[in-house]
Symmetry: C2
Subunit: 214 residues, 2 copies
Amino acid sequence: MTTGMPLLLTVEIAPFTICAERLAVLLVRQAATWRLPGGPVGCQDDLDDAARRHLAQQTGLSGIYLEQLYTFGAPGRSSGQRAVAVAYYALVRAGYSLAESVLASGETRWVAVDEMPHLALDHADIVALAQRRLAAKLAYSTIALQLLPEDFTLSQLQAVHEIILGEVLDKRNFRKRILALDCIEVTGEMARRHGHRPARLFRAKCPGQVDFIK
Amino acid sequence: MTTGMPLLLTVEIAPFTICAERLAVLLVRQAATWRLPGGPVGCQDDLDDAARRHLAQQTGLSGIYLEQLYTFGAPGRSSGQRAVAVAYYALVRAGYSLAESVLASGETRWVAVDEMPHLALDHADIVALAQRRLAAKLAYSTIALQLLPEDFTLSQLQAVHEIILGEVLDKRNFRKRILALDCIEVTGEMARRHGHRPARLFRAKCPGQVDFIK
DNA sequence: ACAAAAGTGTTTTTGTTACACCCATGT
DNA sequence: ACATGGGTGTAACAAAAACACTTTTGT
């Protein structure tokens, strides 16, 4: 085994949320270009910890779902020093408020995935890959619950699926399928939004946990 | 962005094959312990290229299916210098003959996954994760074809599935399902093994390519 | 009263599972 | 002739898809 080499290892995180009925990713501006939050992996950092640390420092996000995605290491991906990036994606519950201090600067903002500006390096590839992974996971896990607040309605959950999949789903079939999974339960509370019948609120039986199904 | 840091990046590859009706992984011996082939990522290497290079150098394997699996970076995973490993798995077609020079040394051998010795570092985790990924991929891709020679019988393909899944499958249902995928075709040739009716040989319509199905 | 979203079952279609016998060859 | 694996179809069942109307609230 040889000794160290001049190679930079970074983590880059694509944080997703549902915002204004669309899937959005959180970008930070650096100099003139937009990029994903992230940065170098410290010498004593676990990779996941490094990702959480940079995410918290650059965006204030913490305590959210985070999953390793893929490691990008093409020699040409960064100009200058050779950099290898361990890419992650993260899920932020709808309605999560970023700290004023973070948003006010204008250096950090949610951008709908179909309206993204040009991103630094290969960050657009990371977002595209994460989006595909997320869509695939809807079919065999309870991951969508990570994009909703603790209490939510079935219509909200259906909307999350529809937005990510980009197609409309049948309400009755959707509800039947979700309830059969036995991963959510009624709270007894009602969501009273205006102008129509109130909806029952549900919550995850195992919040914070993403289960595989079937 | 900071400059380089004393952090070692390696690739580690779990090469699988079907050997004597079992799933086996290729191990190399280093000092007193067995480990997966792999080694440091050079400064100009693409990650995939680094994996292929180490694999070729240490085992003689080349031109085989290779897929990135996961990146392992817990600070305690290596003693001494901090090392981050980009893990891969590779698939070697049954019957592939390793070069005499490689095998003769006794430093390199196929080991059934359920009879593995203690492995260096977290290499046992890599093998376990790769094995799960491989089993999962059988359900939604044509990946099993990468473990068979160019021409093969349906019984051989079924055996690959059964060995990886660890369960027996119904012959008629299996054949129906596989043929419905329309990813293999008859060659017209027959496999004449001894003592029974010859089997039709098939080959992949897109050899070397792993398609997603359904 | 009306607009707007919530809630609710049945039928049809599709895919999956279970299952047993004859065939072609080598010995 | 027998042993060995190769090859084949159908019926039962389960899962997924299609489909429309009533309910409850706010205005």
